[in-house]
Structure formats: C-alpha cells, structure tokens
Amino acid sequence: MTSLTSVAPVLQLRGISKAFTGVQALNGVSLNLYPGEVHTLMGQNGAGKSTLIKVLTGVHMPDKGQILLEGRAIRPASTLAAQNLGISTVYQEVNLCPNLSVAENIFIGRYPHKAGRIDWRCMSQQASTLLARLQVDIDVERPLASYPLAVQQMVAISRALLGSAKVLILDEPTSSLDDKEVELLFSVLRDLRQQGMAILFVTHFLDQTYAISDRITVMRNGEREGEYACSELSRVDLVNKMVGVPAAAAAAAQPTADVANDTVVAAGAKADGRLPIFLRTLGLGRHGSLAPVDLEVRKGELLGLAGLLGSGRTELARLLFGADKADGGKIAIHGVERQFAGPRDAIAVGIGFCSEDRKHEGAVLDLSVRENMMLALQTRMGILRAIPLKRQQQLAQHYVQALGIKTASIETPVGALSGGNQQKVLLARWLVTEPEMLILDEPTRGIDVRAKQEIMDYVANLCRKGMSILFISSELSEVLRVSDRIVVMRDRKTAGEYPRNALDESSVLQVIAAGASHA
C-alpha cells in the first residue's frame, strides 16, 4: 500500500452536491482516491452512494462541486465519456451483453481487425490472455450468459481494464456472489492494487469491507460522515456511523422516551410468553438468499428485524409472505402447517406485506388512492364480489384521516402523491384487510420525520390491539424504540434474538458488527 502522504490523489471529489426535485441527494461530499489503494464507500440505502457513483460516471451532472482527475477538472457527460477519461465502472448487474461471447464482450467497440474484417482468432487469444491475468481460465468463445455471475464480473473487469483505466469503480459487485467467488474477486483486486490501480469499492457488507479495504468513507443522508483508515476504525464504530443515532437526533428523540417507557411496561407483560404463537418457522430458507431460520411471532407482538442491508431481512419477509418459494423448512400458522404457493395463500391466512420497494412492488401509480387501498381486500374477496363503492369511499376516507394522508381527494392517482403519502396508502391497503400479522419492510424510508412518527405510532397502536407486526428497518433507533422483541440478522442468517429490555443500541451494534468466522 502506498504511503498516502507522498502521492497525489488520482481522483478528487470536492464539495459535490446534487439535488433532485425537493430532495438533497448529495450535500458537499468530498473524497480522495489514491493510486494503489482500495477505498470502500459505505452507507445504507438512501445515503447517497449510488448517486455519487452516477455523478462520477457521468450519469448525473453535479449541481455544485468539482471532480479532478489527476489534477485536471473533468465533467463527464456520459458513461462513455467517463470511460474514455479513464474511469471504468463494473456494476452489480454487470451491464454486458449476455448473448455475445466472452471475448466479444471484452472487445466490443474495439475489435482487432485484419484485412477489413474482425479478427476473431486474435480477439479470442487476447481475451484469454487478459482473463488469465485475472486468474480466469475459460472458453472465451461461449456466450457470456453460460457463465455464473462471478465470472461475468471478471469479464466486466477485463473490459474495464482494457481501456487503460486509471480508476476502477466496483458498484456492489458481491451481492450475488458466494464466499469462494468473493475471495477470487478480492485476490484480483489485491493484484490490481499492487499494480497501482486506484479502486473505489462500494458495498454494504461489513466483513468484506474489512477484508479488502485500505480506507473507508462512510456516507449518511447524502453527506460524507467521515473518512477513515480501515485499521483505525472498529466494526462497532463503523456500524454506529452508518446506522447509529447521531448525537443531535438522539436528543430530539427524547420526547418519545415516555412512549418507550409505556412499551417497556407493556412489553414486560408480553414477554412472559403467555401469548399464543401466531406464526412459527422451522428451518425456513432459500438457497442463495437465506440460511435456514427458526422464528416465532406471537399474537400482538411487534417483532423487530435489525441488521444491515443484505443481511437477509427482506429475503425472510418475502419467504414468510410466499412472495418467494422456500427451498426447505416449514411454516405453521396457529399451529397448522401451511404451504405458501404465492402471496395469495399468505393473504388468505391473514398476513400482509408492505414491500420496501414501494414504487415497483407496491404502488399502482395510475390508480386512485381509493383503488390502491382496496386492492388487497378485493383480491381476498374474489372477483365477483366487488366491494360497494360507498363502502370503499368510507374505508378510504377513514384511513386518509387516520394516517394523515395528504391528498386532494381519494380519487387522486397515487402517482401524484409524495413518497411518504404513497407509503401511507400502501399501509392502508394492508390495514384494510385487518390482517393478523403485518410485515413492514422499511416503511419509513425516504419519508420526512413527522410522517415517520405518525406511521410508527399508528403501528405501535395496532400492536396493542392484537395485531402481530414484523418490522424491518435500517434505522436502529426506530427498531429499538417500538419493538417488543428484536431478531438481529447478519450475513443472511439470524444472529441473535433479544427481548426488549435486554438491549440497548450499542449492544445491538456489537451483535451486528461481530465478525463472521470467514473474514
């Protein structure tokens, strides 16, 4: 690793700001990237990592700030421009053409020619040589799609390196890789680092960060929280910086301490285990996304799922709802074993699911607030028994008021509402079905503080009335505040289960941050 004091940074970001209508995505972010280092960019969803990468690679133009490449200011206007300048990016989805051969994917746009025709043999040879440098030995003439994602990423990296790249950006490359493949990728990165390449590595996996990084930049809420040498930052500190409560917010959260005390009392009563179990899983898992999980959710309990992004929380939620099919294990509702062939079955036994991706998986944007709210209830009632319009209007109005949804009318298309109000509409969709258990996956992400408060208070109230809630959130303070019990997840399996008063924030952080056996 090069000594940072003696070498000039190859890439500098100074005060980058970028706003989209009404939301400040990046606020004065600065970053220094040196040759011969692996610099990891960390942060939860919504922290601004992907926006920063998009600014670097020319997808977005910054409102303020400068990008300096080897001391010269640059303003890449497209991904191609960024590539030509020497900033090469490898994305999570690889962004190559699956139908073309490996060799072709590496060389497309810069084919070797012979007598006016593409020289296929030369191309194959060169491709093999390039891949050999990354310790990959494959038949370069087979279509890219016939290889697993890990190999495809190596091909993407080869392509990136072909154009005399100065900076290599890897945007969440390991989300779909298993441990062996990750190790292979890392050994390649270490070689490149030794050859002087400046590598910007974006991830949310703790263990990987500590395995490969020289320095870490933590982002939070669009700002750079700090830049640290990897060896100087403990895991707990890192997690704290990513999801912990900043001092100011902790003070502001005081007024809710009374509510927290109430729930402590209530939780005490619930924690004696006399409440019936609503849902129980035994070894529920899915190959590649979740290790077998044993879980219990009691009636009227608010179970919080804590953990970092990628720890398997959403995967678990989807399995519980039948949105994904489990490979193994059982689910029992009220003691009766059930098979969920799809969400329909879960809805039939009284489970509701508010997805974290409300834009793509939740909101039906062109339909009205009323229609969006009635959707799940209507599917449960079947096609023939349409809910009478009057009743629909009644229910819709009720929830607009109860949840404080800001909309011109219940006939307004949901697409016209703000993110927070859309979220409330989706919440109402499930509340209307009066479920026995409601799974909420990041229900407060990207929502303003007041709306957050309103939603969480409403949810806590529901629990007191007997509804079970599985609450997933990246905001630890939130999870701690409202949950009766917390299950911590890490690396796609459960890492611990704790009743409410057994935990405070720092202990949860410890559990989350505790290194896995394979580092």
């Binding site: 690889v94 190559l96 053409c97 699956p98 497309i108 746009g109 025709r117 593409i118 016939s146």
Partner: protein
C-alpha cells in the same frame, strides 16, 4: 451424468440449437419428399426452391437483422408491393431508364425504413405499431398510384425474368443469384463487421450496449433502413418474377418472412440467431409447399397450417430452452 450427456445437454441449452434443428428438419423434409415422390430430389426441383422463393429470401435476410436486434418489421410486404408499383409506373408510364427506376425504389425503401427506425428509437415507440402503420401507409400509397395492376414489358425486366443461368444440369434465375449474393453479404456484415456485432449487442441488452459505448441510435436506424432496402430489393426481384406492379402483391409476406426467420432458429426476443437461418427457414417453407404441390391431393392451405404448427413448435421449444437455462 456422463460427459457426453453433459455436452449434449449443454448444446441443447444453447440458443443456437434451434438453428441446427432447422437444418435437420430440412434434410428430413427433403428426404421424405425424395422417398415419397419420384423426381423430388432432382436438381431442378431443388433449384426451383431458390428461384421461386428468391424474393422471400431477401426479405427474410432483412427481417433477420431486425429481429436479432429485438425489433420487428411488419411493413415489408407492403413496401414490396409499393416497390413493384413504383417501378412499373416509372418504367411503363414515364418510360424512365430501368436502372434509374431501380435505384430510386431502392432508395425509397431504405429511406422509408430509416424513417420508421428513427421514430422507433428517438420517440421510444413500439416497433410493432410503427411498422404496422408503415404497412398501411405503403399499401395505401401503392393503391393510390394505381388500383389496377400494371404489366411490365420493359426489356431489362423481361430479360431478367427469362434469363436462365446454367448451374450444372439445371438453371438458376438472376433473381435467385441476387438473393444468394444478398444473403452472403448480410452474413459477412453480421459476422465480420462491428456494425453486425452491434446488432447482436443491441438485441442482447440495449442498455448495456449503450453503456459499452456502441452507437445504438445509428445502429437501430440503419437496421430498419436495411430492412426497407431488402423489402425494396425483394420488390424488384418480385417484379422480375411477376412482370407486373400490383397492390395486391405480397399480402402476408411479412408473416411468411417472420415464420422463416423463426423457423430458421432466430429468437423473436432478439440477440440470438444466424442470418443463414433465413435461408434454411425459407427453404423449409419452400419445401413444404413443394411437397404439397407434388402430393396433388392436399390443398395449398395445408401450407399455412403446417407453418403455424412449425412456428408453434419452434417458439415453444425456444421458450422451454430459455426457461430451462434459467434454472
């Protein structure tokens, strides 16, 4: 599983498997014909396959490019008819030199295609609906020129219609030769030039192609221009064959071309397939028709049914392979 079985499984999962299946099918059909009917496997019968379907081959070549890039072109049959009408009008009514007329109609075809390609790319319209409207437009323009057919008796056209190029014991028409040359040219472009590879890239993943720096806009517009050019060229060949310009020419030819391309092994979803598949697909269609003609007892609409069945088999097989590959 033994390595042989593994290799067999792998090659079956390859999207190019259906191209091989077509060639096998063609051999099967020809073999069956040869066994059932005397004189079926004679040289001239086989050459007639090329002569009678030369125009379809040219259209199928253009259609291959479009389909490989992930699009579709429903206007080709109508552009063919329009071409025959325009050429007939220019040559018979205005007495323009035939080569000039041919040059003009080829440019018009290419321009028409380029316009549709531009609309599809820049305004992000669906190729299906844009080329559908183009189909209406071309056919309508054709009728506007003349509702009746115009017979062509211009010497160049007539000579092209009647010339027989000797091949071994039989003969080939100049149209068939032109069609084969077009096919050869297209195969060269598809496999040896960056433009051809860009077509495959766009069909595989247009967004990735854009991010990899390929000039997607230019590629797409050129693809549709080429398809229009092929439709026009096919029209020229058709006018040699029929010696007339007529609005009712080539009704449904676009469907035949699509069927030929799909049966030839190109996936309708784009990105996979060989341009040479156009030839095997057209030959399969032609052989089926010849078989039915030789039989004499089967009505000609059995062709449509058989083509429909073949389409079904190929599409379902392609789909099953795609699903199986995902597991």
């Amino acid at each position: 599983m033994s390595s042989l079985a593994l290799r067999a499984r792998a090659s079956m999962a390859s999207p190019y498997f259906t191209s091989l299946a077509t060639v096998a099918l063609l051999a099967l059909l020809l073999g069956a014909g040869g066994a059932a009917y005397p004189g079926f496997l004679s040289l001239q019968v086989l050459l007639n396959l090329l002569i009678d379907n030369a125009f379809l081959l040219v259209i199928a070549v253009g259609m291959s490019f479009v389909i490989i890039s992930g699009g579709i072109d429903l206007s080709v049959g109508s552009v063919l008819a329009l071409t025959t009408m325009m050429a007939a009008w220019m040559v018979q009514v205005w007495h323009w030199p035939p080569l000039l007329a041919i040059a003009i109609v080829l440019s018009v075809g290419a321009g028409f295609g380029a316009l549709m390609g531009a609309m599809i790319h820049y305004f992000k319209l669906q190729p299906f609906i844009v080329t559908l409207a183009g189909m209406f437009l071309a056919r309508g323009l054709c009728y506007l020129i003349s509702i009746n057919s115009i017979t062509i008796d211009q010497p160049l056209f007539v000579s092209m219609s009647q010339t027989q190029l000797p091949v071994l014991d039989g003969y080939l028409s100049p149209s068939a030769l032109i069609a084969l040359l077009t096919l050869a040219g297209a195969i060269y472009v598809a496999h040896c030039t960056p433009f051809g590879r860009a077509i495959y890239a766009v069909g595989g993943n247009q967004q990735s192609a854009q991010m990899m720096g390929l000039r997607v806009a230019r590629t797409k517009v050129l693809i549709y221009a080429f398809s229009g050019f092929c439709a026009a060229l096919s029209g020229v060949l058709f006018s040699f064959y029929m010696l007339s310009g007529y609005g009712l020419h080539a009704q449904g030819t676009e469907l035949d071309a699509i069927a030929a391309v799909v049966i030839g092994g190109t996936l309708l979803s784009g990105g996979y397939g060989y341009v040479a598949g156009a030839l095997s697909g057209v030959l399969v269609l032609g052989t089926i028709q010849t078989l039915i003609a030789f039989d004499g007892t089967l009505s000609s609409w059995w062709t449509k049914i058989v083509i429909g069945v073949l389409l079904f088999v190929f599409c379902v097989v392609q789909r099953a392979l795609a699903l199986g590959a995902r597991r």
